[in-house]
């Protein structure tokens, strides 16, 4: 249920991002909401990774459908990010706005690199263009959007918490 709620939240965020990115002042640098949602699921996966990965893959697939990337591309990246989040979650205390932003920017960068690798495999990379610059700008914007996305996810988690401790932890931003 919690995963379904997170997928629904991510779906809404992707929809909004698709509508709002035209108004952002950074040209094509769009916050990677899919990556943020996916790593959040990995970070908060607790003992079971598979449901989180499933949720991340679904979120990624929805991102593929709604944002126009080839189907499966963002789903793969999101799945990898959820696993990565699960791997690092025991070593990470996600608390404070700066840390959240740094993690979000790092997530954006990793998602950019993974996406570039997939595009390289598919032969979809353009010949020219500032690939690294675009990636860094996207990571920066993703970092800026990170606190908002994570806060939304935490609020959703707090609603679906089974215990008072879980609810407080979700509100505080502690990964469990």
């Amino acid at each position: 249920m919690r995963i379904a709620a997170q997928v629904l939240l991510a779906y809404v965020l992707i929809l909004l991002c698709g509508c709002l990115w035209h108004y952002l002042p950074l040209d094509r640098a769009v916050p990677d909401v899919v990556a943020l949602s996916a790593i959040y699921l990995g970070l908060t996966a607790r003992q079971r990774l598979a449901p989180a990965t499933l949720g991340a893959v679904i979120i990624g697939y929805l991102g593929d459908l709604l944002l126009g990337t080839p189907r499966g591309m963002q789903a793969m990246v999101a799945g990898v990010l959820s696993i990565l989040g699960h791997v690092i979650h025991r070593r990470l205390l996600l608390r404070g706005r700066v840390v959240t932003m740094l993690l979000a920017a790092f997530t954006g960068l990793v998602a950019g690199v993974l996406g570039t690798l997939v595009r390289l495999y598919a032969g979809h990379l353009p010949d020219g263009g500032d690939l690294i610059g675009t990636m860094l700008r996207a990571a920066l914007v993703t970092g800026l959007a990170g606190p908002i996305v994570f806060r939304s996810c935490r609020a959703m988690d707090a609603r679906f918490a089974r215990t008072h401790r879980e609810r407080e932890a979700a509100r505080e931003g502690l990964t469990l």
Partner: protein, 296 residues
């Protein structure tokens, strides 16, 4: 515990394989949508449309009423462009007016059979008491002499009053010092037209108009008689008021000039009277002999 974790990671790996397979399939057939894709897109499209509508509305509100940073600069730029365009428009209008003026002059010159020159009105006296009684032409020296008639395509305007350098003043027929011998075209009544010098019109009067068989009427056309420096038959004005007395040989009438003296742009100065009409015009002439030989 380890077994469970390995199972968990294995499941995650399998889950990763699904999008990889989808991606591979998508590379082969990018346009092929399955039922789930279609359902998601059908559901999402109206939602996105609604979100876009709200976003555009809010964006418009923001950019039109709140975020007006560049508006001042843009306004200044647009004012500059507007000024430039106004200047350009004024210049174009001036050129159009000049062109129309020249066209009028050419047409007027073409219609005038007498030896004449065209001239442009370059100034007018603007004395508030006498209004426009003289105009200044841009031609004169060596060509124009005092007393030469000045006309436009409507009729008589006046005569050359002064010539100085390249310019000449025209004494309008509405000036009190102007006197022109005229007759009423319909009745043949003869008289001298003088300007009244009014400050609200260009009216003239004929003081001693002969009373002939027919009484003159309002609307009768007054033309030059041919006596004096004006050629005969030039339209001068129309009678606007008749002051007939029960006794006496003469009557008084007021005449409004046919030419609009308040809007003179181009005029013709008659240098010489028009050629006399050919009395043989219209008569059949015998053909000349072809080779100068008398037939048997």
């Amino acid at each position: 515990m380890l077994k469970r974790r390995l199972l968990d990671y294995g499941l995650a790996g399998i889950l990763l394989a699904i999008p990889a397979a989808l991606f591979q399939a998508n590379l082969k057939e990018p346009a092929n949508l399955n039922g789930f894709d279609e359902a998601v897109l059908r559901l999402s499209s109206p939602l996105q449309a609604a979100a876009s509508w709200v976003t555009e509305g809010l964006g418009g509100l923001w950019s039109r009423y709140v975020w007006l940073v560049d508006v001042e600069e843009e306004n200044e730029e647009l004012r500059g462009v507007n000024r430039a365009l106004r200047d350009e428009l004024a210049e174009t209008k001036r050129r159009a007016a000049d062109t129309a003026l020249l066209e009028d002059l050419v047409e007027l010159r073409r219609q005038t059979p007498a030896d004449a020159i065209g001239a442009r009105v370059v100034a007018a006296d603007t004395n508030p008491h006498y209004r426009i009684t003289r105009i200044r032409l841009d031609r004169g020296e060596g060509e124009v002499e005092v007393g030469m008639p000045v006309i436009n395509h409507h009729g008589l305007i006046g005569r050359i009053g002064k010539v100085y350098g390249e310019y000449a003043d025209v004494l309008l027929l509405s000036d009190p010092s102007s006197s022109i011998d005229v007759f009423v075209q319909r009745t043949g009544s003869h008289g001298a037209l003088r300007g009244l010098g009014r400050d609200d019109s260009y009216a003239c009067e004929i003081e001693m108009l002969e009373r002939g068989g027919d009484e003159v009427k309002v609307g009768d056309v007054v033309v030059t008689s041919g006596l004096g420096e004006f050629p005969p038959g030039l339209a001068v004005g129309r009678i606007t008021e008749v002051k007939t007395k029960d006794y006496g040989l003469f009557q008084e009438v007021e005449v409004e000039p046919v030419a609009d003296l308040s809007d003179l742009r181009v005029v013709i100065v008659l240098l010489a009277p028009p050629p006399r009409p050919d009395p043989d015009a219209g008569k059949r002439q015998p053909s000349a002999r072809a080779f100068g030989m008398t037939p048997y």
